[in-house]
Symmetry: C2
Subunit: 229 residues, 2 copies
Amino acid sequence: MSDKSFKHVSCHNCEARKDSLFGSFCDNHVDELNEQKSCAYYKKNQGLFLDGSFPRGVFCLNKGKVKIFTRGEEGKEQIIHIAGEGEIIGFRSMFSGDPYSVSATALEESNICFIAKEDFLNMIDTNASFRNGIMRELSKELAERAVFITNMAQKSVRERLACILLILKDIYKEEEINLTREDLANYVGTATETLIRLLKDFKEEGFIEIHTRKLEIINKDGLIRLAGN
Amino acid sequence: MSDKSFKHVSCHNCEARKDSLFGSFCDNHVDELNEQKSCAYYKKNQGLFLDGSFPRGVFCLNKGKVKIFTRGEEGKEQIIHIAGEGEIIGFRSMFSGDPYSVSATALEESNICFIAKEDFLNMIDTNASFRNGIMRELSKELAERAVFITNMAQKSVRERLACILLILKDIYKEEEINLTREDLANYVGTATETLIRLLKDFKEEGFIEIHTRKLEIINKDGLIRLAGN
DNA sequence: GTTAAAAAATGACTTGAATCATGTTTATAT
DNA sequence: ATATAAACATGATTCAAGTCATTTTTTAAC
């Protein structure tokens, strides 16, 4: 997937757009979007933006995966969300005027478009159904984060790992989950060593298969039972 | 404060409104708001809405405190936020069409107004600056929750308690913090016994004073240092 | 003012998960 | 192909924080 020639996908035939918040755009709007957006190729581990810097627009993920994370006191990452194809990244900071409160980094080779703040805010102001989509999305994420907080507070690491694996399953779909143990640990909110031990347990209990660094879920129902929500 | 006669505050002279999202409304809009809203008195521990039920409008807190919480698997509460005077409660669920993902309960005697969904959404559609305020608020809360998640994952209970006490200080202002030990524990995300022991430590270390159930912060800087963010 | 119930407090004990140390395997660069 | 670093893995140990049991204090009800 180092074919850098597909740098300039047109929004018209962008598969990712179809189930994104831009999915319901009429042809005119897609034209406009296509002219305004610029497209770039990101290497694995390349950053999109950093906590504390000022947002100049939003990113739209055409291909790849992006981790959204904060850093705790000693610099340890906490992954808040992993974005998959079709997701718009960084629009939360468009409204507040504040600098980014999170950082974003490509987890794998990715194709990511960029829409300038001005253009994006203009869409929000003039396209009510798009705006409603954005507001719905904001609310949904707020709800998700409330659940995340509750899980952190009340579930064991083992249960949380099951939850996170299920979330990752939805993001990676038929692909195998492909994250470093450290990233996974930073998502679950545990030490890397603990995570590794638990993965081994999960393997022995028949929940997952481990193909070197890639994970495959082979007993989803079991994980659901374990995760318990 | 069982004076139920102030049930019907006018929005015009509502002190709480002034630093709320309704604060920048022009007179006409305040008139409209005042006609649309209804006002009610809530007893301590009276619920505003329950997780899973469908939202019919938003609440605006004129006087009192309201806890916003979820419930984990075994029914244990996790407090996500404590709303103070001037806050609009429950607007996140206005956009998603989903049922409430959290519950809300008055922590003390409160005066709370209600604005029907239809009226609220109409305001959103027709008043761009109000809408921007709401979007800014959604984004800010999203950022806050990312920090909350990170704290849960990476800080000790002791550090988290310091954080939460500082947050509560901002909500309760000059008043003393007035929560049951159980609620405090459910906010910090710990067992009630652990919380009680830590409060005792904090008292002995000169961070707080305990007046039966009410807490007074007497060394804010010390707590800030302890909380570490 | 007395009583019952709820909330707060304390002690004893257990354990999940972090930390530290070290070894092994897998990527990546030259 | 080989070197070097990064990622993964495992063992030993420690400790923060949970749980359970019981007592004391406070609050609310009669």
